[in-house]
């Protein structure tokens, strides 16, 4: 967008008075104002990803913003139409890569809903453990980065090692750390090892200490409070209009959480509260995320304590890969293995929408199946693509440094935004 040409007004000009009067109407002066245009991004270090915003500035005040997105668009919805169902899990990793297991499991749940697969309780509980760990990892990144943007680097470096420890648990479960490709349609590849449970135990026992110290550092810190309270606020009504979900919506005072509204994965078995804010500003978003981490820890504790015995997968030979022993020693196993890997299995016709509470909001999959071996159409409801539209409205009238803070507290993830 080319900057609008504005006429320079020479104050010493004798005709200055006359220029204010156009066609006999006295102008308010706004038309004569000169604005600056500032490119924030695409690769600005403070935007934590590839986001471009063309800011219209009146001095240091933001008058308007025009976001440009799509810098890392990878056509996921087109790709998904050309892949067998189990291969789509790897695409979902790359949506919100800060909490990849939630995306993986969300996709598996969508497929299970289409196929009518009932998973054993143990699978549900194991999934809950992983998803809550992922939620903690996601919120650790977001909140510590909010603190960095206010100038507090210490907290970030301190809590970030806990994200690494959570990634160690992923590694025990599936072998990967960032883009996890975790689990399969019907359950997990293998049961959690003892060392995975040990690592979870360490997190449950020692993360509270780190979180407490982090909170002590920032949450009642005068500088942090001055920088975040009443910055980038949005009302509950506007947030709903803009399709906000997740912690951003709850910070605005609307208690919508998919885990409670439409429980999946036996979330109804767990006792937890949904924190809500009141102002919808950066501080509230920070506090809501912080409290959600405590709730997630409590859910993990309950899940580990009440973990039922049983199988780590449902009995669906059509979609769940048989153990290697069967593949090499029995005809049946070999046939299923071949059919699954080659994506040669038909699914029922129909359309299904399933959503999970992702790290930053309601992650939904709308799957249209024509009975073929690939989705006929897969639409992903990516929460930050929808709520990032509100960004120009939220930073209107704010300072540039507030705009940076607003963006990082909204938890906009480039991979999810651009699909």
């Amino acid at each position: 967008m080319p900057p609008e040409q504005t006429k320079m007004i020479n104050i010493s000009d004798d005709n200055f008075e006359k220029k204010h009067i156009i066609n006999g109407v006295v102008q308010s002066g706004d038309e004569l104002k000169q604005y600056n245009y500032l490119n924030l991004g695409p690769t600005h270090p403070a935007t934590h990803g590839i986001f471009q915003n063309i800011l219209k500035m009146d001095g240091e005040i933001i008058v308007d913003a025009q976001p440009t997105i799509g810098y890392i668009h990878r056509a996921f919805e087109k790709l998904a139409e050309n892949r067998p169902f189990f291969q789509i899990t790897t695409i979902t990793d790359r949506l919100n890569y800060c909490s990849a297991p939630i995306n993986n499991i969300g996709w598996h749940l969508t497929m299970e809903k289409l196929l009518g697969i009932e998973t054993p309780k143990r699978v549900d509980y194991l999934r809950v453990i992983v998803m809550e760990l992922a939620r903690i990892a996601d919120h650790i990144i977001c909140n510590s980065v909010v603190a960095v943007d206010t100038g507090a680097l210490t907290g970030f470096l301190y809590v970030f090692q806990w994200r690494e420890k959570i990634y160690d648990v992923y590694e025990e479960i599936c072998g990967a750390r960032l883009t996890t490709n975790m689990g399969r349609i019907g359950g997990f590849e293998r049961d959690f090892s003892k060392s995975a449970f040990d690592k979870i135990d360490v997190i449950v026992k020692e993360l509270p200490k780190a979180l407490q110290e982090f909170e002590k550092l920032v949450i009642r810190n005068r500088i942090f409070m001055d920088r975040t309270i009443n910055v980038g606020g949005i009302s509950g009504e506007r947030a709903l209009e803009y399709g906000f979900t997740g912690p951003n919506l709850r910070a605005a005072g609307v208690d919508y959480d998919v885990r409670v509204m439409n429980p999946y994965c036996s979330y109804q078995d767990f006792d937890f509260t949904i924190p809500v804010g009141s102002n919808g500003d950066t501080y509230d978003r920070f506090c809501v995320r912080q409290e959600e981490m405590w709730q997630s820890l409590s859910i993990i504790k309950q899940a580990v304590k009440n973990l039922p015995e049983g199988k780590h997968h449902a009995d669906v030979p059509e979609f769940y890969l048989p153990p290697k022993d069967d593949v090499y020693n029995s005809m049946e196993g070999l046939i299923w293995h071949f059919k699954i890997v080659m994506g040669e299995i038909n699914v029922p016709k129909g359309q299904v929408y399933h959503s999970v509470e992702g790290g930053n909001g309601e992650l939904g999959f709308y799957l249209v199946s024509d009975g073929g071996r690939q989705p006929y159409r897969l639409h992903m409801r990516r929460p930050c693509f929808i709520y990032y539209q509100a960004y120009p409205e939220m930073i209107k009238g704010a300072m540039l440094s507030d705009a940076i803070l607003t963006m990082s507290s909204m938890n906009v993830i480039a991979g999810e935004l651009d699909a």
Binding site: G70, K78, E81, L240, E344, S355, Y366, R381, F385, Q389
Partner: protein, 166 residues
């Protein structure tokens, strides 16, 4: 609290023309409506005193090249948070002049979703404040999610579908 039955009866009692079909799949109602009715229907649902559809979950397009005269469809996922009721509205459009009124004045969230649908399927949303391509390059002159554009390189010969029963 209201359920699917209530919603179905309320909608059919209020609108007799324009509702082309009502289906239910996996517990979610699908209303297939005429495009002239869609804005009136959604406005009515939003302002209804008990249904109160205050949340647009998602909006997307689907391409069915084999359905003559109704090749493109727009799917609205709506959610009444008060009643915890989700349902879908489908509108079918012809391949030539796929046009439909915008939803931006009802839900601000529709803005980018409609831009994305325009980009992927070429569906024109009347009255949209800023209907431009959003994710791809600005000068892209085709709509990539239409089924006539294959993803796989057509010259590839190493994977012959006939060996796999396709």
């Amino acid at each position: 609290m209201i359920d699917n039955e209530f919603l179905k009866e309320a909608v059919t009692a209020r609108f007799d023309k324009g509702i082309l079909g009502i289906e239910e799949s996996y517990g979610t109602l699908d209303f297939i409506v005429d495009k002239s009715l869609v804005i009136e229907l959604i406005t009515w649902l939003k302002n209804h005193e008990t249904i109160k559809v205050n949340f647009l979950t998602s909006l997307c397009g689907v391409h069915f090249p084999d359905q003559l005269g109704r090749e493109l469809s727009v799917v609205y996922h709506l959610h009444s948070l008060v009643n915890n009721l989700r349902f879908r509205i489908h509108v079918f459009l012809p391949k030539e002049n796929p046009e439909i009124p915008t939803l931006c004045h009802l839900y601000a969230a529709a803005n980018w979703m409609e831009r994305e649908t325009f980009e992927f399927y070429g569906i024109i949303f009347w009255g949209h404040p800023d209907l431009r391509i959003i994710l791809n390059v600005e000068d892209m002159d085709y709509h990539p999610l239409l089924k006539q554009y294959p993803l796989v390189d057509a010259t590839r010969t190493d994977k012959d579908d006939k060996y796999f029963g396709r």
